[in-house]
């Protein structure tokens, strides 16, 4: 069965330090993987996506993620956190059949 596990429910970083949000997936097929961000009281916005092209994917606002098939991971990183990055982040896996699997979310806190 397909699944998505976000390894941290909360991550706290200081402004200007690197961000790492971890995501592991389980899929019988080659997946498409996504990261979405949800700011408070807002809808979900696509940050970046992996669709079997380059394994290092660059997204908006300086975020990037690397697809590692051997580790079944798709971790999200950013070199330097900004206060505006504080939000909920969702890792999402699509393997066909109109159904996407959402991770439980990781809340990112950014301290001044």
């Amino acid at each position: 069965a397909q699944s998505v596990t976000q390894l941290d429910s909360h991550v706290s970083v200081s402004e200007g330090t690197p961000v790492l949000l971890r995501c592991n997936y389980s899929s019988s097929y080659s997946p498409s993987l996504f990261w979405y961000v949800q700011h408070p009281n807002k809808g979900l916005q696509l940050l970046l996506k992996y669709t079997s092209a380059a394994t290092l994917v660059k997204g908006i606002n300086g975020f990037e993620a690397e697809f590692k098939k051997s580790e079944t991971s798709f971790h999200l990183t950013k070199p330097s956190a900004h206060m505006s990055d504080a939000a909920e982040y969702f890792c999402v896996c699509y393997t066909g059949g109109f159904k996407t699997i959402f991770g439980a979310g990781t809340r990112l806190f950014v301290k001044a």
Partner: protein, 114 residues
């Protein structure tokens, strides 16, 4: 122009009432979804329509009934509202057959049942 819009943004109602939430997308997509987000931010898919046909119907009480009058609209009607229905409901759309299959989300409807 808003890509995926929902109305209303907030909905406060009493137990036992019937209410509807509307969703419209102007992206030309052929697939639309309803998600429920609980207080812990967990997102659960409820329904999905492709070309106006119901293709995903998760374990949802039959008090919830989706309706898709055309590919650009997907409405959600809820009968006999219960306290546990309080949540944020998100509509989303995507284009089937595309390699990326990303979904575009509406701003959400916060439903509070008292």
């Amino acid at each position: 122009d808003t890509a995926v819009s929902q109305t209303p943004k907030y909905l406060v109602t009493q137990m036992g009432n019937d209410k509807s939430i509307k969703c419209e997308q102007n992206l030309g997509h052929d697939t639309m979804y309803w998600y429920k987000q609980d207080s812990k931010k967990f997102l659960k898919i409820m329904f999905s329509y492709n070309n106006k046909e119901l293709i995903i119907n998760e374990t949802v009480p039959n008090r919830f009934s989706p309706k898709s009058p055309d590919k650009a609209h997907l409405n959600l009607h809820i009968n006999s509202l219960e306290l546990g229905d309080s949540a944020v409901y998100f509509c989303a759309s995507s284009q089937s057959g595309s390699l990326s299959y990303e979904q575009y989300f509406g701003p959400g409807t916060r439903l509070t049942v008292t």
